[in-house]
């Protein structure tokens, strides 16, 4: 039981979640601001503790159910930071629109816990349980705006489709367990590497698994829930869905694919290629005709999931003949680093965009693109950050989105997937049109009223942090890339 200490960060997060619920009972209604303050301070503390305590440690817990390594450390810190950002960006929204603040923050923190577990699980059941923990938290959070019909509708849709996808996922897992006799990633890799012929039942199992995970990342053709849910959910939670849940699922998928499915990747590649091509094309095409800004960003995030899937399909070279030499591993590492970098860059840009939308919604009460008219005059700083996040999502320099796309696409074309990369680049041309439409309303269209939007100190601070992060990564990505390379190396050493 000695290595239970390695779980201390998770344990602290659990304690934090429960103590917020408890403290909530004892503080009066007008002092609820204590809750987010407390949560943020504690998360910062846990983050520092995690970085100091876990750095350089590599271990596995309970016979490989959980893995503590550089990869999980990287994502744990990323999710703790994300949790902090989500709480800060929720403060004003929650104050104005939601009741039961204690529950909101504690559930948010439990989802952070679930994401941390997802990035470190080394076994299918653990992966499933942590994924479900995340989903259940999100079901509640999506429907948290009780008196808003859209939010309720979104919650219902999300839980029904989510339950369906979980069932599919679980079916896939049981199929795999039945045929392989293990749910451990490492053991699966060993068995798969040693068998020359693959049982079709096994392939079906993996297909179900991919379908279930495809639901969670909103990959076409499993994306139908995303726009409705994104539109109805409270905006900070939409950001969570678009960034947190997606990043955590990709963290899980990456570990699963790299340490468990590598021998089978050549067979699964064609499916992933088709999914990637469909996802980026459809996501970006559908975004063209949206009028609600949250729906638009929902489709744009489907498009971005397509780029990440492109990375997944490029984990093995198209010309791979079966022997995994050193060049092969380093190319795979290149792609994995690209996926992680793009997840981070996309996450930061999307967080900034959703924060801007949430601030604008607070002032105007509208979420249509037309209602963005004249924001450029009303709040120059807010619109500058919004424009920057839009440029970053569109993949233009000096913002993070440019280098991350370039890196990911370079990696994928080194694996011989240049045709798929060409499709991806063409779809990013399509995406430019709707991103520019946002800019047109922000800066060019005149607004009907001249009511100024004043930013609170919190929003101003958070917006500046995200803005600087976008530009910093875009201009000088080397420090972040170093950290990502460490994470990637940890992952491939398991291989």
């Amino acid at each position: 039981m000695n290595n239970l200490t390695l779980l201390l960060p998770e344990i602290f997060v659990v304690i934090l979640g429960f103590s917020i619920l408890t403290i909530d009972f004892f503080i009066p209604k007008n002092k609820k601001w204590i809750l987010p303050c407390f949560a943020i301070l504690s998360l910062t503390g846990i983050l520092i503790f995690t970085l100091v305590f876990l750095s350089g440690k590599t271990d596995e817990l309970y016979g490989g159910i959980l893995r503590i390594d550089g990869y999980s450390l990287f994502f744990k810190s990323a999710f703790l930071i994300l949790g902090g950002i989500l709480i800060v960006s929720s403060v004003e929204y929650v104050n104005k629109n939601l009741s039961n603040q204690g529950e909101y923050y504690s559930i948010l923190i439990f989802t952070v816990l679930a994401m941390m577990l997802m990035s470190s699980s080394g076994e299918l059941l653990m992966a499933y349980i942590s994924l479900e923990a995340l989903s259940f938290g999100l079901y509640v959070l999506v429907a948290f705006d009780r008196y808003n019909i859209k939010s309720n509708e979104a919650g219902t849709k999300y839980i029904i489709l989510g339950a369906l996808s979980s069932a599919i996922l679980l079916f896939g897992i049981s199929q795999i367990y039945g045929l392989l006799g293990t749910t451990q990633f490492n053991e699966m890799a060993d068995i798969l590497g040693n068998t020359s012929s693959i049982n079709p039942g096994l392939l079906i199992g993996f297909l179900f698994l991919i379908a279930g995970l495809g639901f969670k990342v909103a990959a076409v053709p499993f994306h139908m829930w995303a726009p409705d849910v994104y539109e109805g959910a409270p905006t900070p939670i939409t950001a969570h869905l678009a960034v947190g849940s997606k990043a955590a699922t990709f963290a899980l998928i990456l570990r699963f694919f790299i340490s468990g499915l590598m021998p089978l990747m050549i067979d699964l590649q064609i499916i992933l290629i088709i999914m990637a091509a469909l996802t980026m094309t459809l996501g970006n095409l559908m975004a063209l005709v949206q009028s609600n800004i949250k729906r638009l960003l929902a489709y744009s995030s489907i498009g971005h999931a397509g780029y990440l899937l492109l990375g997944l399909s490029a984990l093995v070279s198209i010309n791979q003949s079966g022997n995994f030499n050193l060049a092969f591993i380093s190319n795979t590492n290149f792609v994995v680093s690209g996926i992680i970098l793009h997840t981070i860059a996309y996450g930061i840009s999307n967080l900034a965009a959703f924060l801007c939308i949430s601030i604008i919604y607070k002032k105007t009460g509208h979420e249509n693109i037309e209602d963005l008219a004249g924001i450029g005059k009303k709040s120059p700083f807010l619109s500058m950050v919004f424009a920057a996040s839009v440029f970053s999502l569109a993949g233009l320099p000096i913002f993070a989105g440019f280098i991350s796309k370039f890196y990911l696409f370079t990696g994928a074309s080194m694996q011989g997937l240049i045709w798929l990369v060409a499709i991806a680049i063409f779809t990013s041309l399509i995406s430019l049109y709707y991103y520019l439409r946002i800019l047109k309303y922000i800066y060019i269209e005149k607004s009907k009223d001249s009511q100024q939007i004043n930013l609170s100190v919190i929003s101003f601070g958070l917006l500046s942090v995200l803005f600087i992060a976008m530009i910093f990564i875009g201009i000088y990505p080397a420090p972040l890339m170093d950290a990502i390379h460490h994470a990637t190396d940890a992952l491939s050493m398991l291989n």
Partner: protein, 517 residues
């Protein structure tokens, strides 16, 4: 001095970026401050860019002012070892004049932007981003950064045109500025899509794990590969250079843009395209260039004739200039397609000459539009009486455009024609016909709009009251256009210093092509 020289290009790229960053923090009420900071930084950058050209030693040749900084290390790979993306700067005989061109046009653009009415701060922030990107493309010796800066120069265009631009409304012919901005942006990014794909293809095919252009030039790609990728590169950069039939963004975009942006865009950004064809297409993919040159030549010829004919039919003064750009860029493309020293040198000189000339055109047209709020050729008549400076400067630009000896356009076009007659005489004849059509539309314009019969009633109804005391250009606009006009005269009368530098660059490109063929 050596340390200074090795940092020179970096500083030239950095100053506009610093300008953009620092202007963000200046309160928007301080209009004078913003103007002066922009003007000062612009002036310093222009001086540095002229220095870069003047100090380029054509005896030594090669890439000068070269320096490189490791920007991002790639994961080490047993195939090519530890590689990194490097910020690799340096200029040769072709990019040196382009750097100077950018400096001059950029600075005169700032001078011409004094009359901007709203949001000075945002305008100059975006303008400086654009400039930094343009300098970056000309100075980069690394495909990644070439692409990075190219996209950086595309980024601010939508807002620059959309916010500060002007729409065209002739009842029967309506083009809003949003339309122009969106069209320009989508075309340019469509070009960058092709460029991006071909960069990735070149990177993967080389197997070197580097984006460095000099390193990639030594590779000697497979012939089939070159035949496939060269058209991609040429089309991608060609869209930017206004290659027919993908030129339509250029008139629409340039007409909608505010004066300074039209100047930089038509004057410099279109040259990025031609430069890219030379630097990436000819330099890295010589066999592809050899095979595809006739096609490029054919399209370039269509550019010249079609652009000139279209200019002939326009009613909007700015559209005439826009189509004349398309037509003149045709000479550049034709010159490139000759693949001989004279033609290619002519193309590069034409890039420089047309950049300055078209900037001058746009300053003048901008002044007219600001005073009268119209660019309709049917309405404007005989304005030289009240706008003497404007008329003279337009005449200089116009005569350059039709190739009057003694002005820069003559030298450039003459060289292109000589180059053409060496290889494709028929295209040479067509090119001269194009120059003839140019003379028709320019002289028609000069005769009617400037020296026609002035109707004082119409003139008074057109003239904005603000300018009733002094309808002619003000000192800033005069300074801006005189700088450009003097440059035209210098290049036209003393082309040899320019030709020496350009020839060095062209010879190296052709030698490297000959070496790998």
């Amino acid at each position: 001095m050596n340390t200074f020289n090795s940092w020179l290009l970096f500083i030239i790229i950095l100053i506009p970026l610093i300008g953009a960053a620092s202007l963000i923090f200046i309160p928007k009420e301080q209009k004078n401050w913003i103007q002066w900071i922009a003007t000062t930084l612009g002036f310093i950058t222009m001086v540095l860019s002229i220095y870069a050209f003047a100090a380029y030693s054509h005896d030594a040749g090669g890439f000068q002012f070269a320096n490189s900084w490791v920007w991002l290390e790639l994961p080490s790979n047993p195939l090519f070892g530890q590689q990194a993306i490097e910020l690799n700067l340096g200029i040769d005989g072709i990019s040196a004049p382009m750097i100077m061109l950018t400096g001059i046009v950029m600075f005169t653009g700032i001078l011409a932007s004094r009359s901007i009415q709203e949001s000075h701060k945002e305008f100059f922030v975006l303008y400086f981003l654009l400039i930094s990107g343009v300098f970056g493309v000309f100075a980069s010796l690394d495909l990644f950064f070439l692409f990075f800066f190219y996209e950086l120069s595309v980024l601010p265009m939508y807002l620059l045109i959309g916010i500060w631009g002007s729409s065209t409304d002739f009842k029967t012919f309506i083009r809003t500025k949003e339309y122009g901005a969106m069209k320009l942006m989508l075309y340019l990014v469509a070009g960058s899509v092709l460029i991006w794909i071909s960069i990735l293809a070149i990177f993967t095919e080389s197997g070197l794990g580097t984006f460095s252009i000099p390193a990639l030039a030594k590779v000697g790609f497979d012939t089939t590969f070159q035949l496939i990728v060269f058209p991609l590169v040429t089309l991608g950069f060609g869209i930017l250079a206004g290659l027919w039939p993908f030129h339509t963004w250029s008139p629409d975009g340039h007409v909608a843009a505010p004066t300074a942006v039209s100047m930089v865009h038509a004057g410099v950004l279109m040259k990025l395209g031609a430069y890219g064809i030379i630097r990436v297409g000819l330099f890295l993919l010589p066999e592809g260039a050899e095979q595809w040159a006739p096609v490029l030549l054919g399209l370039g010829t269509v550019n010249v004739i079609y652009g000139a004919l279209s200019a002939l039919g326009q009613r909007d003064l700015k559209y005439v200039i826009g189509y004349s750009s398309v037509s003149h860029m045709g000479y550049v493309l034709m010159g490139i397609a000759t693949l001989n020293v004279i033609g290619l040198s002519g193309a590069v000189l034409q890039m420089f000459s047309h950049g300055i000339m078209t900037a001058l055109f746009f300053v003048v047209v901008g002044v007219i539009y600001e005073r009268t709020h119209t660019r309709d050729i049917e309405v404007l008549e005989g304005i030289a009486k009240h706008m003497g400076w404007v008329a003279v400067l337009f005449l200089i630009a116009g005569l350059t455009s039709l190739g009057l000896p003694g002005l820069s356009g003559f030298v450039a076009e003459l060289l292109v024609f000589i180059g053409l007659f060496q290889t494709y005489p028929i295209a040479g004849i067509l090119g001269i016909i194009g120059a003839g059509i140019t003379a028709i539309y320019i002289l028609r314009l000069v005769a009617k709009v400037f020296f026609g019969k002035l109707n004082e009633k119409v003139w008074n109804s057109l003239l904005d009251n603000k300018f009733s005391k002094q309808p002619d250009s003000n000192y800033w606009e005069r300074a801006s256009s005189v700088v450009l006009a003097i440059t035209i005269l210098i290049v036209g009368l003393f082309p040899f210093p320019f030709m020496e530098v350009i020839n060095t660059g062209v010879n190296e490109i052709l030698a490297s092509m000959a070496g790998s063929l």
